[in-house]
């Protein structure tokens, strides 16, 4: 057989994908094998275009196979991200589940002219994390961050620009020194201001600030280079 059924997420996904297998059973065996392993693999990171296609299939056809692929890639990463932000493991997983449910429900709101899929899912996770913190602070249900309410018709050009931005942001992150990258990461995972980060790293505040400025300045230069 293609792969033994194992425990954990993968095992359940195997079971879940059973209907999918029977549906494609009529096709040639090699094609069938290729298709199923494609769904099983977590390590083969989907690229931006592939991810946008998966979201579109969820939005237009409630495609559960596409959702399974998104889930297997993003749920463990959103969980890891939230844990790194200081949440206990079980809370991080609960919120990640909420995030993935929101991905299902809001798939039709995804706008490839505004952001890439991973960025979109990051913002959902960020807002859910803030909401969670608020629920701890106040009993009353809190509002989410004000939504981006600009209605920009998605044009092919805008989608391309977003893809370019995501690619160059990634390149810029890769070009940062380890220390700069660590400072940027700290900004995402810690609510500490840079003055506190400086104290913790035992660096002068001016040093931290200038390093942050350098790192962010590079990102900004990239962005501004694109918009001109």
């Amino acid at each position: 057989m293609i792969r033994p059924v194992v425990g954990g997420v993968e095992g359940i996904m195997n079971a879940f994908l059973e209907p999918a297998r029977s549906k494609i059973a009529n096709r040639s065996p090699s094609r069938r094998g290729a298709l199923v392993t494609q769904f099983m693999q977590d390590d083969g990171a989907p690229d931006g275009g592939e991810m946008a296609e998966l979201i579109r299939r969820v939005a237009e056809a409630q495609d559960r196979q596409a959702y399974a692929r998104l889930y297997s890639y993003f749920a463990p990463r959103v969980t890891a991200f939230l844990r790194k932000s200081g949440l206990p493991a079980n809370t991080a997983e609960e919120i990640a589940q909420d995030v993935m449910l929101a991905v299902w429900r809001k798939a039709s709101y995804f706008d490839p002219a505004q952001a890439g899929v991973s960025t979109w899912i990051f913002t959902i996770a960020r807002n859910q994390r803030i909401d969670h913190a608020r629920r701890l602070k106040v009993a009353a249900a809190a509002q989410a961050l004000p939504p981006d309410d600009e209605e920009v018709a998605p044009s092919g050009e805008a989608v391309l620009l977003v893809a370019e931005r995501e690619a160059s942001v990634r390149a810029a992150l890769g070009a940062l020194s380890d220390e700069q990258a660590a400072i940027v990461r700290l900004s995402f995972f810690s609510e500490k201001a840079h003055s506190e980060i400086a104290r913790e790293l035992n660096l002068p505040l001016g040093t931290v600030k200038s390093r942050v400025r350098l790192a962010l300045g590079r990102l900004r230069a990239l962005l501004e280079g694109q918009s001109s």
């Binding site: 409630q62 990051f122 803030i130 004000p146 609510e191 900004r220």
Partner: protein, 222 residues
């Protein structure tokens, strides 16, 4: 035209969801009028998306995916048929306050009445639904008035809503954001043409300097 913008550090923390509630509201007001800062936030959100992809995945509990499937089966909304977008309908509008139209980003907040805090100076305390202890203040200062000279223990975020003021760093008109770090002392002076209304939040606490400042500090709960 907006001449004074948020710093990269602040926009990064905003995009990361790590800015405290008060300053985050001030930034939200600034963003609503500033396409340049919105574009920078979008870039920093893309940094978040990239970090999300780079992170080592965490193990999930064995039944997590099955639970997620049950959740999507239970959900009323199917992804193909979006229901009315949330928030807009549910958002209560804050009661109006004299002298200014409240920015959209503050519509769900509770705005207190103007109270006297000094000659030609009034303040209103804004309470946020998400954090009762968050400090957000509307300041209304008469033309030509000097605000007490002060430094900060944290960063002060001031968004001009109406009128203008100047300090050693420049002139601030509606839409401008003044971000003053903890190491800065400044003395804003409202320009002569009319009163100035600002939205201010502080991360940390203010350190009023000078005789007058120390005198009024107990009353100015910024």
């Amino acid at each position: 035209m907006i001449r004074h913008h948020a710093t990269d550090e602040t926009l990064l923390r905003y995009a990361a969801g790590q800015l405290p509630a008060g300053p985050a509201r001030v930034i939200a007001v600034h963003l609503s009028g500033c396409p340049a800062c919105r574009a920078r936030v979008a870039a920093f959100e893309a940094v978040g998306g990239a970090l999300l992809q780079q992170i080592d995945p965490a193990p999930m509990s064995p039944d997590a995916f099955a639970a997620a499937l049950r959740a999507i089966e239970d959900t009323q909304e199917s992804p193909g048929e979006p229901s009315a977008p949330p928030a807009t309908a549910a958002r209560a509008s804050a009661k109006p306050i004299e002298g200014i139209e409240l920015p959209e980003a503050l519509r769900d907040c509770d705005v207190g009445p103007w109270r006297w805090i000094g000659i030609g100076m009034r303040a209103s305390t804004i309470t946020l639904p998400e954090d009762a202890r968050a400090r957000l203040t509307l300041l209304r200062v008469g033309p030509g008035r000097k605000l007490p000279e002060h430094g900060h223990f944290g960063t002060e975020f001031t968004q001009v809503l109406a009128g203008s003021f100047s300090d050693g760093y420049g002139r601030y008109t509606p839409g401008d954001l003044s971000e003053m770090g903890h190491d800065v002392e400044h003395q804003p002076i409202v320009d002569g043409e009319g009163e100035c209304i600002c939205l201010a939040a502080l991360e940390g606490s203010m350190r009023l300097t000078g005789f007058f400042g120390r005198l009024i500090q107990p009353f100015v709960k910024l």
